[in-house]
Subunit: 213 residues, 2 copies
């Protein structure tokens, strides 16, 4: 069993959307969240070849700089007909301006160029890595499968949410509230989003269940 | 307690000297060692800011590619009067030809340029990271303190061994046999080298003690 987490935790992300989701997910636990930006921690280069490798690079850098445990997230959209692209390059497809409207258009163009046929199968993946200063690291991955729809639908969420229709649902992630998308059912059944699912595994392993309902 | 290690283990290093030491250190345990090069695994870019971060990058890349647990090492020489240099750049100072004669001369020049006074305090650090495919990672660091001597002495070991005189010893690592340098005492007392010490912590946490004497 991994070391139990008590007290303060640096959240190693500079992405406001992720930070909000992480804050909501961590809310029920007795953990004080400190955004990495509040500590002036720089963003390390994401040179890993997988979501987990990149989450680990970010968690390690933050934990060692802050000298307290750090939780990092790396996530993205993997499109079957594009051999998993944009994958770990999901944020890069949006460019330095983080223009996900352009990134979603790029996905549509790539599908057309690949002469992909409907349904455009895809999944979101989220890796979470928890690093202890100078020591252990625990990494977890959650996925949610579905298909892509064009044009994008909905203004909620962030990133590629408006083109992602999770299996069994009639609304895209862009049309869902945060609670619906990444809420964690209290009966122990899996949450909907990739981040909720990764978080459930993380919470079970590292937080020892909810301390506050 | 971290997951116990049984069976096969990829050794994520392409450095022959490290591979030999790791093989010796792992010999007493019931673990089958597979060098990363034998699996055709590429060497990932070492972009981390610490020994542990770099060991983790290498272990993660190998574990996920090979789909079996991987152990990686990152180590180097940290010189006090040089603010810890060459540190994580220890191998880079030797250049692509891995010319450690040149690297040791560079250390001597840097000490002279810094007008450092005797004794030239330094330590070797060794980080070990054990990654499980898509999952946990356990990281450990061992250090050995001492001072630097010039000119280099001895032809044993590798890297900066000939200029490193461990505290309490009259011979450099370059003048010691592998057994003396990184042998692990059977009475539980700490080994001498940074790698032996990191390995002891690793073995205690992940190998569950010796299975074969």
């Amino acid at each position: 069993m991994p070391q139990k987490l008590i007290g303060k935790l640096v959240i190693a992300t500079h992405n406001a959307g992720k930070l909000t989701e992480m804050r909501d997910l961590l809310a029920p636990y007795g953990v004080t969240m400190i955004p990495a930006a509040d500590l002036g921690l720089p963003e390390p280069e994401e040179t890993g070849g997988t979501f987990i490798a990149n989450a680990e690079i970010k968690a390690r850098a933050a934990a060692d700089r802050a000298n307290i445990p750090a939780l990092a997230d790396d996530s993205g959209l993997c499109v079957e007909a594009l051999d998993g692209a944009p994958g770990i390059n999901s944020a890069r497809w949006a460019g330095p301006a983080r223009d996900f409207g352009a990134a979603m258009a790029k996905v549509e163009q790539a599908l057309r160029a690949a002469k992909a046929s409907l349904p455009f199968k895809a999944h979101f993946a989220c890796a979470l890595a928890l690093a202890f200063p100078g020591g252990d690291m625990h990494s977890f991955e959650g996925k949610v499968f579905g298909e892509l729809v064009f044009p994008p639908r909905g203004k909620l969420g962030f990133g590629y949410d408006p083109i992602f229709l999770p299996e069994g649902y009639a609304r895209t992630f862009g049309e869902m509230t945060g609670l619906e998308k990444h809420g964690i059912p209290t009966d122990g059944s899996p949450g909907l989003s990739h981040r909720a699912r990764a978080f459930q595994i993380f919470a079970q392993a590292c937080l020892g269940g909810r301390t506050v309902q």
